[in-house]
Symmetry: C2
């Protein structure tokens, strides 16, 4: 296997404060792996053997209820750590990670986590920052689910995806990974039927343009209004 290039990690928050030599060390111990769309990176309840860093693609972190319904806990974008159970002293993964599109990730054995945090100044700090942000996002979702109507939640979910992974195209801003109506319903706690109706209505109003697994937001501003954010 050829050596990984150091530029992969330079500039990513968890590693931004490290020196070249340190990054070299870290990379030499990383296991890179490619995942096709739909492939699992790890599974809920299984032993947390490795922690991961997404280099390219998108990951959905999913939880399955006793009733068999799925809900999407989190979207991971390139540059983010995920499956960081060791940071919380957990020994199993609390959810399942699935590639939303073809993805490339590095991973390390969990036993290296203490070493990373102790040895590399700033790694722990950045990791706990990330954790804090996720805690905040979850809080936001709880609030939304508890107080907002379905339409607002779906609008907010689209905006979140656009913000996190929007790529500009001529019509507007496109969500950079495949999303189905069902996926959106799993993010917002509704049914795919309702999501479909909403998207159809918004399409008619010229707010979005959507095809199969593919959504372009043509009028982000009106979506913001729909999401119910006070100015």
């Amino acid at each position: 296997m050829s050596k990984l290039d150091e530029s992969l990690l330079t500039g990513l928050p968890p590693f931004s404060r490290l020196e070249r030599g340190q990054i070299r060390e870290i990379l030499d111990q990383a296991l890179p792996k490619r995942y096709d769309e739909g492939n699992e990176i790890f599974h809920e309840g299984h032993d947390a053997e490795r922690f991961h860093l997404l280099l390219d693609g998108y990951i959905r972190v999913v939880k399955t209820t006793e009733g068999g319904e799925q809900i999407i806990a989190l979207h991971i974008s390139p540059g983010q750590l995920f499956g960081i159970a060791p940071a919380l002293n957990r020994d199993t993964y609390p959810a399942t990670a699935v590639a939303a599109s073809e993805s490339l990730a590095l991973s390390w054995p969990v036993r290296m986590w203490p070493e990373f945090t102790a040895k590399y100044q700033g790694f722990a700090t950045e990791s706990y920052n990330t954790l804090g942000q996720r805690l905040g996002e979850m809080q936001t979702r709880i609030t939304e689910l508890a107080t907002q109507a379905v339409e607002q939640r779906v609008a907010a979910a689209l905006l979140r995806m656009v913000t996190q992974s929007g790529r500009k195209v001529e019509e507007g801003i496109e969500i950079a990974f495949p999303v189905t109506r069902r996926n959106i319903s799993e993010m917002t706690g509704t049914t795919l039927h309702t999501v479909s109706r909403l998207l159809s209505a918004w399409e008619k109003d010229g707010i979005v343009h959507s095809t199969r697994k593919h959504i372009v937001v043509t009028d982000p501003h009106r979506l913001v209004v729909l999401s119910g954010v006070q100015g």
Copy 2:
């Protein structure tokens, strides 16, 4: 001010691995404070100047939406840290903390957080454990809100409070701090009206006995069934 007794901290998870001398040091720097029911400990958005440990009583951590609605993010029981913004490198409190009953808490300036985690072996570990648990609880609530009906959510909320703070009385198990119908609605994303109707129905079925601000669960098992947990 007389010295605080060391036994206050001995046995609490964050400090369980410390020696007497260390506990003495920590206590000497703590500021104890009493709060009446309804008093604020800290307010959302304000500078996070101190982190806190609840010794006695119960704390509600509350978030207010733009629309003015409140939702209860978290309940804190004696022995738990709260307002630990510094652990996540935040410099403002993400939510408001209010005493649910008369409470006693210690607090320390946030600048001591790095010292605590560095100096006292196990403090950081235990703190991040706590954080992991809270993350898990939030995940559970998101799942509930997204997939369960109101009745199941209210049943689950009651059970959670009973588990966290249940005290045995002759009729059954009593929630150890004052709770209003409105409070429960703020935990479950419904209205106080609906909660009132549910409690009335359950009272009729002999599952709970409730008075003003006060709830006793007389048949926990049937409540578990209502909450929809699969066996």
